[in-house]
Amino acid sequence: MNVRDDLKAYLDGELAPEDALRVERALTENPELAEEAQAMKQISQALQDLGEATALPSRNPDALIQRIRRPRFAPARWQWAAGVVIVFGMVALLQLPRWSLRSPASGGASVEMPATSESARMEVPEDSLSLTDAAESVDKSRNLAIVPGENRLALSLVRTAEVQVQVANLGLAVQGVELVATRFGGFISASQTQGSRTENPTAQLTLRVPVRSFAKALAEVQALGEVVYANSNTQDVSTEVADVDARLRVLRAEEQATISILQAATKVGEIMAVRERLSIIRQQIESLEAQQRTLRDQTSFSTIRVSLAQRVQVGEPPASNHWGGEAWSNAVNGLAAVGRALGVAAINVFVYAPIWLPLVLIAWWWNRRRR
């Protein structure tokens, strides 16, 4: 190696002894090299002087010492992990009502109805579930509303109810509704079933029963499963019925009178005019008769719209007499449920990131800053 390359290291005492000896020999033999070494020493000294003459800060580190002395929040790894689990758990708890049914024993019925409507999911206090009581009270009020005496007016009521019931077995529940209809002299006016066994099967039935059996039929339908939603409505149409009856009587009398005029008419013009009038009267009579039939139907048969939903049964294994197979199926189903729950939880954690992520980042930044 060239001695000149080691010259600075030699002057700084950074050479190995044998290399230092080699440079020393070269310096004694080569005056030009010695002059170079002398120049380097002078430059080195000048640089050190330059450094010492430089205005460099020497501030007090009190603020820094205070920051170091201040107790800091420095969570251990397990604390961070616990924090993440807590956040995860909170998100999971927030979402729990969407994932599973609440226990009926918890004081109410909170159920997610399968794809009926957004409003299907609701909480119904137990004390408001008993539509039977409500219907019976209407029955009582009806009796009280009837005015005894010669001008007794028969109260005409249109009674409707809507009820959503979650059942264990949809097929049996549908049969149960049909049985209720038969028992009370009613009928099923419409029926629709949809979904497969594992995909939230549902059924919608329209049950018509005589008004006098409305309360009992409703109670029996509710008894088929767990009531998720119930609504009852009683509409007093007595005035409409009376009005239609009265107008019909008047129109029929007018019809008879018009027929008499028609029979007496001799001129073509008169005959045409009276026939036209008679036609109008008969149209009005037909229209009112249709209204009367509808009202009669509505007041004699109440309508109960029943929505039935089967509880979700995830991957229920086929019936088996072998305990091993059942255990296997149960385990697979359990794993699927856990996987799904974890997936849903992960999605929720991701979706709620705008809420918790800034908090975590602020905590992290604050912790870092305090140190």
Binding site: A39, P57, S58, R59, R67
Partner: protein, 173 residues
């Protein structure tokens, strides 16, 4: 110092306070030479805070001072990048003390020397400042800059050869 570092690694705030008190002047000068005295305080604070956070990782393979200056070097580099400051090391000799003594016996013209220093490459200036102004050994410089000792040696030698040439030219003017 190693015992003090061990105590600080166990969370002893008093030990860390003593480390700060002992090393702060040196660290703030080290930072000021790189990024200027205006930002040096921030850099020094950040250096000690990083050291306090990571002192458990100090493995005693180098001296504590070298480890601390390694942190300071990285902090200065990051701060310079953030605040768009060029690390030319010129602060090491441009911010002159008003009452600084001017040695009479030096044969090197200081104005010419300052001028010549600006002609060096950034790598050469870096090792010159670390070795000549901060008094770090070749090995310490190599550890802080994360380069081989041989590279420090060759850069320093080349820097001095260059300075000598430049000063000869300046003297001939």
């Amino acid at each position: 110092m190693n015992e003090l570092a061990n105590q600080a690694a166990r969370g002893d705030r008093d030990a860390m306070t003593r480390i700060v008190t002992e090393h702060y002047p040196f660290v703030i000068r080290f930072c000021a030479r790189r990024i200027g005295s205006q930002v040096a305080e921030d850099a020094a604070q950040e250096t000690f805070l990083v050291a306090w956070r990571t002192i458990r990782k100090f493995d005693h393979r180098s001296s504590f001072r070298t480890w601390l200056l390694g942190i300071a070097h990285n902090v200065c580099r990051n701060l310079a990048r953030k605040r768009k400051i060029e690390m030319t090391y010129e602060h090491a000799w441009t911010e002159r003390l008003p009452d600084a003594p001017t040695p009479e016996n030096t044969s090197v013209d200081r104005i010419a020397l300052r001028h010549s220093l600006t002609k060096l490459t950034a790598e050469q200036r870096e090792v010159v400042v670390m070795h000549e102004l901060e008094g770090l050994s070749y090995e310490e410089t190599a550890t802080i800059l994360e380069i081989p000792v041989g590279t420090v040696k060759s850069r320093l030698n080349a820097a001095f050869q260059r300075l000598r040439q430049l000063l000869c030219v300046e003297a001939g003017r």
